[in-house]
């Protein structure tokens, strides 16, 4: 019930922002605008989705930004004339990021180190691997793909479709045994273990899936910008955490829904764009982001505390 109230609050906020947006930019619902906006928001939405999966187990991923860059780097250095072309490049990038995520998961599950420390060290590790793969910004993304992705493909907003497919995939994952186990491990690890859930395997899968979503975000960013950059992913680490928290995902695990994360990402992205329209310097974006985060989380915590008392 409380979760529903959270989501309703986010929805209401989003509606207000959308109405304001529509007034400033009447083309909001045109396919071209949707394409541009979804291309712009895709990396953050998918990165935050990855972070959400990890946070649901009670973990946190400080290496997310590095893994995002890694996926981007692998995707753009795959030679365009090699067998499989761009599809093989995507598959390879996703395989690499998924493995990187799973490796994080193995460390978290078996090492007895808190996730925050493991992924902190891993952020150096994957950041370094990314620099080896792609020392300087550059690489290759097929031009046709960049155009189709950013300007629509026969009127179809490809990034929006990609987001839809990714979130659909998550819906599917959630209905499996793993999906249930994920919430169980996050909610009460000892209880989950006592009930016969292989908590270690659940964690490894969770970090692996987070790697998959992060890789998708990296590929999206590469296609959007038309090239690769080994350090561009760094801000996504903390931004993804901020969005997940904004969306109602708890640091302690087991609480929150992917829907909330999606709403959080949309809200933050649209607010940032709104600032652009009003002609305020883009410098204010960051201040707004910080203030929104503080206000949203504080209102939520104080409200729920009252409900408990």
């Amino acid at each position: 019930m409380r979760n529903r109230l959270d989501l309703l609050g986010l929805c209401a906020l989003l509606a207000v922002v959308l109405i304001a947006y529509q007034r400033l930019d009447p083309t909001l619902l045109h396919p071209s605008t949707i394409t541009i906006l979804s291309a712009q928001f895709l990396p953050l939405i998918l990165a935050a989705a990855g972070q959400t999966i990890v946070m649901l187990t009670g973990g946190i991923d400080l290496s997310l930004g590095a893994v995002l860059s890694l996926g981007m780097a692998v995707f753009v250095i795959y030679p365009p004339d090699a067998p499989g072309g761009v599809v093989a490049a995507m598959a390879l990038a996703l395989a690499v990021t998924m493995l990187a995520g799973a490796a994080n998961g193995v460390l978290v599950a078996y090492a007895g180190l808190p996730p925050i420390i493991v992924t902190l060290a891993a952020s150096f590790l994957w950041g370094g691997v990314t620099l080896i793969v792609l020392p300087q910004p550059g690489g290759h993304v097929p031009e046709g793909l960049v155009r189709a992705y950013n300007f629509g493909w026969y009127g179809l907003a490809l990034p929006a479709v990609a987001i839809g497919v990714a979130l659909g995939l998550w819906k599917l994952i959630k209905t499996t045994h793993f999906g249930l186990a994920l919430y169980a491990v996050g909610g009460n690890e000892h209880g989950a273990y006592a009930n016969g859930i292989d908590t270690r395997r659940v964690k490894i899968y969770a970090y692996g899936f987070a790697g998959l979503f992060t890789g998708l975000a990296g590929i999206g960013l590469a296609i959007q910008t038309g090239s690769g950059d080994p350090t561009i992913g760094v801000p996504y680490t903390l931004n993804s955490i901020a969005v997940a928290v904004l969306g109602g995902i708890s640091f302690f695990g087991g609480v929150g829904q992917m829907r909330g994360t999606l709403l959080g990402a949309l809200l933050l992205g649209l607010l940032t764009n709104l600032l652009l329209f009003t002609g305020i310097s883009t410098f204010y974006q960051m201040i707004l982001q910080g203030v929104v985060l503080i206000v949203a989380v504080a209102v939520k915590t104080l409200a729920t505390r009252k409900a408990v008392a």
Binding site: L113, I132, P135, F283, Q289, I294
Partner: protein, 329 residues
């Protein structure tokens, strides 16, 4: 708090050699110093240029920037908090100092920079105590706000400044020891007193061990949180000033490396990230260790990428050796 520590020491002494070995295993700050000594010996044996006094001097000088930030971070981590805004505060203090110095002289500039830094800590603590925000969210948000504010304040292009006082502090030395290092060790000494000997430090340890229990037993949570976060931010500000003196310029991103490295130094120093366990002196070893490792990797002529990979792997291995958490919480 001190009483409890003494009790457990006595018990360890009474229980024979096996128990005292456990005691050594438990004292992770000592491990940090041991690993540091071993690494240093290895560096002298296997790499060029680590055997001279000048190299030692340079190492302890460069370690002091990270070291000062990490001492502050320790204060916060010990009460199971975390401060992700140290990177922003390092830049804030340097940028504000450079900017103000251009108009109203260097003494005023230094004071203003330190005051602004401490203010960030107070705001962080206020958000954590009264708005009930998780420390990670609050400090992350304030880091974002500060970065934005700096962009507006400097219009995107921060100034450089040559401030004699800071220049001397960063580059000068007393009896062969760099002043920055003297400052760092002085700060560490005060912090040892604050964390391990003062009443407030005992409260911080109690908060790190169990917040509900310490609340119930009357620990003044707001005051403790306020002092620790303000001290952490103030120290990040000091580090920013020393860095400004060292490089002569300020930049909006100059603090970025310290955000995660300061936490790594704390943890490598044997302090539990969950709070309540560790010693501040371990962090001094942790900062030295991280700086030494980085210098070693540079000396081996590894590329930037390989260097980071090795550093990441080394941190993981070291943590596995002596910083594993018992399966609690």
């Amino acid at each position: 708090m001190t009483q409890a520590v003494q009790d457990s020491d006595v018990r360890a002494d009474n229980a024979g050699p096996r128990r005292s070995f456990d005691g050594l295993r438990g004292n992770r700050a000592l491990w940090a110093f041991g690993v540091l000594a071993l690494t240093w010996v290895a560096a002298i044996l296997f790499a060029r240029g680590f055997d001279s006094l000048a190299s030692v001097r340079y190492l302890v000088q460069t370690a002091s920037f990270l070291g000062i930030v990490a001492v502050g971070q320790t204060l916060v981590v010990m009460m199971s908090g975390i401060d992700l805004s140290v990177s922003a505060v390092v830049a804030l203090s340097a940028v504000v100092c450079a900017q103000v110095a251009a108009g109203s002289g260097s003494t005023v500039a230094v004071l203003v920079a330190l005051a602004v830094s401490a203010l960030v800590g107070v705001v962080n603590a206020a958000g954590i105590v009264w708005l009930r925000l998780p420390p990670m969210v609050m400090t992350l948000a304030s880091a974002t706000v500060i970065s934005g504010a700096l962009l507006i304040y400097t219009n995107g292009s921060p100034k450089s400044a040559s401030i004699p006082l800071l220049d001397a502090l960063a580059n000068g030395s007393v009896a062969g020891i760099p002043l920055a290092t003297v400052l760092w060790l002085g700060i560490a000494a005060v912090a040892v007193w604050l964390l391990h000997l003062s009443r407030l430090g005992g409260y911080a340890f109690a908060l790190g061990t169990s917040e509900p229990a310490s609340r119930a037993s009357g620990v003044p949570v707001p005051v403790t949180t306020l002092v620790m976060y303000a001290a952490c931010a103030l120290l990040a500000g000091v580090a920013g000033l020393v860095l400004l003196g060292f490089t002569g310029t300020s930049s909006l991103t100059m603090g970025n490396p310290y955000q995660l490295l300061s936490i790594a130094a704390v943890v490598l120093g044997g302090t539990s990230i969950l709070g309540g366990r560790g010693h501040l002196l371990g962090t001094v070893a942790g900062a030295l260790l991280l700086t030494l490792l980085t210098a070693l990797l540079v000396a081996w002529n590894l590329g930037e990428g390989l260097r980071q990979v090795t550093l990441g792997l080394l941190i993981i291995v070291l943590l596995l050796v002596y910083a594993r958490e018992r399966r609690t919480s």
